[in-house]
Structure formats: C-alpha cells, structure tokens
Amino acid sequence: MNDPRPPKLAEKLLLRFIKEDLAEEVLGDLDEKYYSVLEKHPKKANRNYWYQVLNYIRPFALKKTKSKYSKLTIMFNNNFKVAWRSMKRQKMYSAIKIGGFSIGIMVCLLILLYINDDLSYDQQYQEKHRVYRLVNHMNDPTDTERWTSFSPAIKKVLESDYPEIETVGRLIPFDWFNGGNNQMRPEGQDIITYEEGFMYADPELLDILEVQMVYGSTENALSNPKSILISEDKASKYFPGENPIGKTIILNEDTAAHYTIGGVMKNFPKNSHLQTDFLLTLVGEEFWPGEQSSWCCSNYNTYLRLYDGSNPTQLESKLLSIRDNHLVPHFRQRGNLWADELEKFYSIELQGVTDIHLRSTDIHSEFSKGDITMVWLFGIIAIIVLALASINFINLSTAKSANRAKEVGLRKVIGSGKSTLVFQFLTESILYSLVSFILAIILAVILLPYFNIIAEKSLSIPFLEWWFIPLIIASAVIIGVISGVYPAFYLTAFKPLSVLRGDTSRGSKSAGLRSVLVVFQFTASILLIIGAVVVNEQMNYITRKKVGFDKDQILIIHGTNTLGQKAESFKNEIKQLSSVEEVSYSNSLPVEGTMRNNNQFWIEGTSTTKEGVGAQIWGVDEDYVKTMGFKVVMGKDFDPTLTTGNPILINQTMAKELGVEDPIGVLVTNKFEPPYRIVGVIEDFHYETMRDEILSLCLRLQGGNSLAAVRFNPQNVDETLSKATEIWEQFAPNQAIRYSFMDEKFNAMYKDVQRTSRIFNIFSILAVFVACTGLFGLSGFMAEQRRKEISIRKVLGASVHSIFRLLSSNFIRLVLISFVIAAPIGYHYLEKWLEDFEYRIPLSWGFIAMAGGIGLLVALITVSFESLKAGFQNPVQGLRSE
C-alpha cells in the first residue's frame, strides 16, 4: 500500500513562490503538520496542507522577483516612471490623448461586437458547408430579380434526378392557409391566444437545418399528417412541466385545423435566419387538388443538403433542366407567354445557408436580413474613428516635442543611443494605449446596455472567451506602437547641441505633417456629417411623405375571423360608438404584417396572346375605401347593394399596366375564379416601403376577413379603445382583444432603416468629437507657444478680435480644405445610396454645404476656446517670466 504523502501539486506551488532560504524548514514544518493531522483526521490532512500552503502567500515569504536586477528591467522601470511623470505633468494633454483614444477604442469595440454578431448568423450548423437554399434568378437585362419560392413539385424532381443531392426540405414561411398568424388554443383549454409565425415544413427540413429537439426526434416529429412541432418556449407556456407529445392544438376554432404535437424543439438560436415557434407538417397536405404535383404557384422555399464533395456550381447548371423539362412546358401548355421569358432569362442558383442573413438584400424573401454593405460601412467607421484618435496622439506628441527636447538632448549627451530613446518613447505610447484600452472597456461595459437598445441586439462583451484578453492586450500594444512610432523617431532626431543651445524651432518643424493629418481628420468628420444629414433627411422624407391614405386615425383589431357569423353584428356595434367614423373588414392593409399575395391577371380572352399583369388581390368589404380614405379617380366605389358579378377596384398602376383606355366595366381574370368586373379605379397609395415602387393592386369583396380597420376621432383615443374592448369581450370572451394603430405599424416598416441611421448618427457624432478633442489640444498648444508673441502684440495695441483671427485662421483654412476634399466624395457615395430608394429626396448641394457649415462651426467653437483665452489674457502674465 502506498503511504499517504502530502499533495505534490501544493508542494510544487509552494516551491514556486517561496524564498529559497525558507523552503527547507517550511516544507519540513508542513510535512510534520501533515503527518500529525493524518493520524487524527486522515481525511482532513490534504485539505489542511493546501490551506497551509495558500496561507504562505504573504509578502515576507515571497521570492523577490526583483532580486535579479538587470539593466533592461532598470531601464524599463525608468521608462515607465518617466512616462508616468510626463503624463501627470501635463494633465490636459494627457486627458485629451487618453480620452480621445479611449472613445475611439470604445467605438471600435462596440462596432466590432455588432459586426461579429451579424457575421455569426447561421454558423451553428455542423454541415453548413453543404447546406444550400435555392434561389430563382430572372436575369432580364432590364430588371434582374431574385426570389426564393418554388413550385411544390420541385421536391420530387430534385430527389430523383440529381444524385448529388442528399436531402430536400421545403418551407412555407408566410401567411398561407394555416401558416402565418393564428388564434390558437390547446384542446381542453378555453383561452384562445394569438400566436405568430406558423410555418409549413417538410420533415426533412428538421434534419437539414439541424433542429435540436427537447422531446421527440427530428425523424418522427413531423412525419404524420396534421402534426405540429412547437418550440420549448411555447411548450412551457401551454403545457408547463409536461411532455406535450400527442396533445392537440386547434387553430382559429377550425375543425379542419386540429394538429397533433409531434415534438418539442429547442428555440432557434438568435442568430439563425429562420425564427419560428410552430412548424406544421407538409406531409399529407395538398392545398387544392393536384397542388403537390403541379408546377404552377410558387410558394415553397427549398433547402438542400448536398453529398460531401459535390460541386454546387455544376449542380446549378444541371438545374437548368428543371426549367427546360418542367417549368417552360408547364407554361407553354397553358399558352402563357411567361414561358418565353423563362426560357431566355431564368436560372436556379444555390445560396449557401451562411450567406442567407447578410447576402440577400436583392432577394425577395420572408426573413429579416442584415446587409453586408452595412457591415462594411460600420467596419470602415470603426477604422476611421480609431485613425482619428491615433492622429490626435501623433499630433499632440509632436506638438509637445519642444518640452521634451531638452530631456532628449540631455539623455543623448550622457550617452543614450537613439534606439534606447526610441524604445523609451514607444514605452510611453504603449502605456497611453494600455490606459486608454482599460478606460475604453470600462466605458463599453457602461454603454453597452444602451447600445443594445438602440441596435436592438443583445450583445455582450466576451470577457470569458479565451481569445479576448490576449487580443485586447495585443491590439493595445500594436496600436501603441503604430501611433507612437512617428513621434518616437521625430523626437529622437533632435541634435543635442542645438537643443541644449536653445534654438529648436519649438515644435513647428512638423507643422506640415500635422496639417495634413488635421485635414485628414476633418475630411473624415465632414464626410460622416454629410452622411448623417442626408440619411436623416431621407428618413424624414419617407416617414412624412403623403402615402395616399389616412394612416393616423386608424385602429386595427386583429383576429376578427374567429367571430364567424357574429362578425357583422360586431361591426355594427363598433360603428355605433360616437367616436368611430368608419369600420371595414379586410385581410390586407397598407402596412407590413398583413396578407400579401401575387396573381397574374389578364383581360378576359387575352391570356394566350398577352403577358399577364402581376398584381396583388386583397380581400376587403364594401366600406374599405371609405375607411382608408382612398380616392376613387374613375368609376365608382363598391355598391353595397350590388355585390354580384364579382366587382373589383384596381389602382392606377394596374389600370396603366392593363393598357386599356377606359377600364370601367372591363372583365379581368386570374384563371382561378370567375372573371372580375372592374367597377372603379383608385388613386395609387403606398402599401410597401418607399424603397419599392407602387405595384398593381386590386380589391375584391370577401367575407371572413381577419382585420377590422376602425377609423376614429383622434380626440378620445383611450375612450374608443376601452369601449371597443368592452364590445369585443362580449363577442369573444375567451379571446383577448389584439389591436394596433396603423401609424405605429407604418413606422415599424422603417424600423431597420431608422435603426441603422441612428447608429450611424451616434458614431458620426463620436467621430467628430474625437477629431475636435485633437483640434482643441492643438489650438491650446499653439496659443501656449505663441504666448509671448501675443502678449507683445497686445501691449502694442492688438485687439482680442485680431488675435483670435491670428490664432484660428490657420485651423479654419485646414477645415475648409477638408471640406473641399470631402464634398465630392460624399456627394458620390450618397447619390449611390439614394438610388436604392424608389422615392427619394434630390441630393442637393445645400445638404453638403450645410454639413460643411456644421463641421466648420464645430471646429470654430473648438478653436475659439483657446484662442479667446489667449486673446483675453493679461499681457503681463505672458511676459513676466523673463
């Protein structure tokens, strides 16, 4: 048997830190103690030993690391001491250097976190390199389009004809039969709740997107018809603490929509492009007879996993056979001219799953997405801000060089070499950089919660990641060296003789370079200001532009489809309220989040000879036009007494696209329903964001709609709301009222643009601020250098005004030069940005002049502070010293 021994590790640790001359007896003491404890409490012995060892970490017992004095460490210590002293001696300059630096670094850090989060999307799949999404590409020379929905029949063909494809899974991520938003309740419970984001999916999709399961398996969860997969969150909401597999969920009180829970999945990670709590199976679904095998009607997003080693580019060219063998024949058979277009311009692309979030800006799809160009833009801003801060450092260091010249001269006389001096100044700048980094991280920790609110992210600083601390230290050193290298060489180049004789041109030798750097700083700042001004103007334009309807006084009540037969009487009761002017049921409203669709329309009888007009068709009731405040420009509004004969209203764009002089009375068809008779034309209104142009749209009468739009008198919003709630509760006691205001919904459509512009504004302001702190420091320095000159001028009768001009004119000139450089660059890029909007402000030079004005004003204020101080001072103060 092994005799128990004191723990080796503890012994080693002790020997590591304890003084050599203490080691022997201390170890002896500890051993003796160990064995004596061992006799009494064998279990405690080890623990006690550790305790005793740790108790030895006391100053008296520690090895003196400094005992090995070397010249290098002495010098290093001295360098630090000198750096520390010069930092303390010039508090203002140090504060500007460090303050500017830390703000710059903080901005950089926040932006990097933001970018990092965007780049982390969809990286969680183990097989991500062979998971793809199919994208339609219509490369019409006049109008390139990309979209993601495919015909249902594509799945079978992909599975059978292409050996490199391992699995195919389809997804319907939008309002479609029971997809989208539903009023739901578990069977056996009374309360009906509104839930969003139901999607249809093939069981294979779970495997392709590597959905993680809590209960059930990816193979079985969706394999039975009418099964549903719900998320962990929703499982614990509706079935707390139990395994809900086998339970039934009822949607919209519809007997045909009873779904059996087949499994519970983990919530999708925040950085997944796909976000849903409910997946309905596509197994056994056929939305109309023959739907699943048809090539019409693209509604399915299609995901693939390829076999390892297959070439996606090759597959793309093979996929053209789908066009030639299936799509074109399908449309040609029906005499649809779309077939020719397809043949000429259409192809199918594969998009890697990791590209979906950031590289889909030109793809029509249902997912919220980031924008790789924004990632680049923010990255550039981060670098600019950091550069501005580094320039401050360089400028202030060289400007203050006169004060250090004597020190350098003396050191050289005593025998210091150039390299040791360079080393000294580099140490100094690294010290500044380290202090700034520490401050920056503290600032970032404080500001991160606010930044998260603005950016609508949940970022955190990854202190615990192994790479974080080394990365920060490495960047601190690198940035310290980069910004310190020029000043270091500049300062050490002084000739000792001339310095000590006292005729250094006091820090003005590098004035040329300093001016260049200041110009760079202000060019960048003015560019950012121009950007901020124009982006804000465009945002204001969009949110305030007349949209063609009255969005400000409309209350939307959601989920009215569950009222069934009672809908009419509910509408009448709401209408009775004194503050309510109009009520209308519909499925679609000109704000995001309501039903959209796409249909092809032909004037009756031309479907084989002409191309169809793509248009939305919205289900509404006869009060819709009145309620929304649309203008009827031709024909008449729906006549409540004449609802037969399929009347529809079309918008001006559709009238134009149909190409008939007088559309009233014309019959149009989408080939599904009997032909519609156009009874009126309404003025165009915006129903998508202003990035998009207004497209064709028609309105038809339809019952059972899910939204009630209530136009009310805005003077008593609360009263209207509470009365409407009362009425709702009488009609649907088990279902909470869900309402929204149209103007809020409308503004929400621009949330992402507004968010981006807000972040842009904040970072621009910070960048300008950093540039100004540098200018402030420089102007203060100049005033100090010319103190005697100014005093003498004042004695000889110069006015404050003339001294102010003397000191600030140089800086103002630099800012003007910056403006001249920045203006055309800014104009160019902003013009490009605005081209993206269908409805935009003209980019006038006025904005650019305004931005330049702001830049100049800020610079002037910054400079005037020190200049005026110099101008007002008593000349005696400046001359007294000699």
């Binding site: 203490l22 022997e24 007896e25 201390v26 170890l27 002896g28 003491d29 500890l30 051993d31 003796e32 103690k33 064995y35 004596s36 305790y51 005793q52 108790n55 030895y56 970490i57 006391r58 008296f60 017992a61």
Partner: protein, 110 residues
C-alpha cells in the same frame, strides 16, 4: 526612546518560544499555542511573526538536525535573544503596572 511595542500575537509567540526553550521550532510552537490557548494558528501566519521578530533582533535561529518524520528536512530552532528577553520583561512590567493601578473594587465588583 524607541521602545518597541509588541503586538498581542507577537507577545504570545515570544512567550511560547521561551516556554519551549531548546525545542522551539515552527510546528512545536503552533502545537504549544494551540494546546495552551486553544486557538488556531496557520503556519504561514506564525512564520510571518517569527521572521519579523527575528528581524527586530528579539529572536535568533539556527537550523537543526534532519528527522524522518519531516521527510528529511531540517528544522529551524528559535531562541530568545537578550533583546527579546528585555522586551518581554518590559512588557510584563507594563502590564503589571497597569493591573496595579486598577482599584481593587473595579474588578471585584460583580
């Protein structure tokens, strides 16, 4: 002038070293203190005080023989120096002086 004032723990350690006479080394001192005063002392804190007292020239030390129970490591034995003795005596005087100055009824009263 410059009379050194012993801390409470220093005083205990000095006294214990005096009690143990020739046998005063780390663990022995701790055991003695634990036995007599029923208080826990870690080796580290004891060593701190021993070094300090040695530095003040109240203790002297020398390395002794190696024994098996200590894994072949030698002990360091501590001894009171004359300064140490003097300080202890002074301290005792002071305490007694203070005790004497207390009127007897203060302590005897319940």
């Amino acid at each position: 002038m410059g009379k050194y004032h012993l801390g409470e723990f220093e005083e205990i350690v000095l006294l214990t070293v005096a009690i143990l006479q020739e046998d005063a080394y780390g663990i022995a001192i701790i055991d003695e203190i634990e036995k007599r005063l029923k208080r826990k002392v870690s080796i580290g804190s004891l060593q701190t005080v021993l070094r300090r007292l040695e530095g003040k020239d109240m203790l002297s030390s020398q390395l002794g023989e190696a024994t098996k129970v200590r894994g072949g490591k030698r002990k360091r034995f501590f001894k009171l120096t004359s300064t140490g003795k003097k300080v202890l005596e002074d301290t005792k005087e002071q305490r007694l002086g203070l005790w004497d100055a207390i009127p007897s009824f203060v302590i005897n009263d319940p």
